[in-house]
C-alpha cells in the first residue's frame, strides 16, 4: 500500500521510492490500540486455537481488509463485565479509527466488533497465585 502523497516538493516523488505497508501491520496496530483500553482484552495461550483462555492483557484478534488506502476491520474482543456494551464498543471504534489513521495514514471506514467473552475484572483463574 502506498502512503499518502506528500506535498509536492522540488524532487520527483517516484525518485524518492515507495513505502509499502503490510496488512498485518494495520492488524497489529489496531489490536494494540484495542488492548490499551482497560475494558478490552483478547485470548492467549492454547495451541491452534484450542485451550486459549481470555486475557485482559492480550491483544484482541483483528482482521483487516485493505482496498487501496481504505480499510475495513473485524475485531474479536473480550470485554469487562458489566460495561455498557454499545457505549464502549463505540468508544473503541472511534479510538481504533483515529489511531490507525494517525499512525498509518489508512482511512478506516468500517469496524465490525464481535464480543467473544465477558468477564469481571476481579475474576481469578482458579489457580493459586504467588504472593
Amino acid at each position: 500500500m502506498k502512503t499518502p502523497a506528500a506535498p509536492a516538493g522540488s524532487r520527483d516523488l517516484d525518485s524518492r521510492g515507495r513505502t509499502f505497508l503490510d496488512r498485518k501491520v494495520v492488524e497489529k496496530i489496531a489490536g494494540q490500540v484495542a488492548s490499551e483500553e482497560s475494558f478490552a482484552g483478547g485470548s492467549s495461550g492454547g495451541f491452534l486455537g484450542i485451550g486459549a483462555h481470555s486475557d485482559f492483557s492480550a491483544r484482541p484478534k483483528v482482521t483487516v481488509e485493505l482496498a487501496g488506502n481504505i480499510a475495513a476491520l473485524s475485531v474479536e474482543i473480550g470485554l469487562l463485565y458489566p460495561v455498557p456494551l454499545r457505549q464502549v464498543t463505540e468508544q473503541l471504534r472511534r479510538r481504533i479509527s483515529e489511531r490507525v489513521n494517525a499512525l498509518t495514514g489508512v482511512e478506516v471506514r468500517q469496524i465490525d466488533i464481535t464480543v467473544s467473552w465477558l468477564k469481571p475484572a476481579d475474576e481469578t483463574t482458579g489457580r493459586r497465585r504467588l504472593l
Binding site: 476491520l73 463485565y81 458489566p82 460495561v83 455498557p84 456494551l85 454499545r86 457505549q87 464498543t89 463505540e90 471504534r93 471506514r109 468500517q110 469496524i111 465490525d112 466488533i113 464481535t114 464480543v115 467473544s116 467473552w117 465477558l118 468477564k119 469481571p120 476481579d122 475474576e123 481469578t124 482458579g126 489457580r127 493459586r128 497465585r129 504472593l131
Partner: protein, 206 residues
C-alpha cells in the same frame, strides 16, 4: 427454562370449539325441524339428512383425489400440532448492538452474556450451579435462570443478590431494562465448591 405452545393451543382450540359448536347447533336445528321451517329447501326433521345416492357423488376419480388430499392435509396439520407440543428452549441467537451499520456492526452472542450471568450467580454464597438463557431482542431481552443452591443456603439472600446485582448488571451491559425475568430455584444436597483463590496481602512468616 423451556417454552410450550400454549398460545397456539389456545388459538386452535378456540377455532375447533367454534366449528364444533356451529355443527352442533346445525344438527339441533335440523333435528327439531326449525331449519326446515326457516328454509324449506332443507330436509324435514323426520327424513334422512343425506338423500340421494352417495356412490354417484364419490364415483369420479377427482372427488376421491380431493378427499385424499384433504385427509393428508388435515393429518399433516395434526402432526405439526403434536410436534409443536415438544418444549423448546428458543434461545436468542446474536444481539446486534450497533446503531449505524455503515460504520461497523457490533455483535454479541446471547450465550456470551448468559455465561457472564452464570459466572456472576456462581459466586453467590450457597449457589452450587446455575444456567441462564436469554431470549428476545437486544432492546427487549428476556432472562431465564435456573439456580441450584445448597440445602443450607439463605434463599432470600440469593434472590436479593440476583435482583440487586445480577439483573442490574445485565441491564447495564445491554443498556436497557429486562422485559421479563424468570428464576427457577432448585435445592441440592451437594456442597457449594467455589474452588477459587482469593487475593490477599500480608506478611508470610516462614
Amino acid at each position: 427454562m423451556r417454552q410450550h405452545a400454549g398460545a397456539m393451543n389456545r388459538t386452535w382450540l378456540v377455532i375447533l370449539g367454534i366449528l364444533a359448536l356451529a355443527g352442533g347447533v346445525l344438527i339441533l336445528l335440523a333435528a327439531s325441524g326449525t331449519l326446515h321451517a326457516m328454509s324449506p329447501a332443507t330436509v324435514a326433521a323426520e327424513s334422512p339428512v343425506v338423500t340421494g345416492d352417495l356412490h354417484t357423488v364419490f364415483g369420479p376419480a377427482s372427488v376421491t383425489a380431493i378427499v385424499l388430499v384433504a385427509g393428508v392435509l388435515m393429518g399433516s396439520l395434526g402432526l405439526l400440532w403434536i410436534l409443536a407440543q415438544i418444549p423448546r428452549r428458543n434461545p436468542a441467537d446474536r444481539y446486534r448492538l450497533h446503531q449505524d451499520p455503515a460504520s461497523g456492526t457490533t455483535l454479541c452472542d446471547a450465550s456470551v452474556l448468559a455465561s457472564a450471568v452464570e459466572n456472576q450467580i456462581n459466586t453467590l454464597p450457597g449457589v452450587v450451579g446455575s444456567s441462564a438463557l436469554l431470549r428476545g431482542t437486544a432492546m427487549e431481552p428476556d432472562l431465564t435462570m435456573k439456580v441450584t443452591v445448597t440445602n443450607r443456603a439463605d434463599i432470600q439472600h440469593v434472590l436479593h443478590s440476583i435482583n440487586t446485582r445480577v439483573i442490574p448488571d445485565l441491564s447495564t451491559a445491554l443498556e436497557t431494562p429486562l422485559r421479563r425475568t424468570g428464576i427457577q430455584l432448585e435445592v441440592s444436597g451437594r456442597n457449594a465448591i467455589a474452588g477459587t483463590t482469593v487475593d490477599t496481602t500480608g506478611t508470610v512468616i516462614y
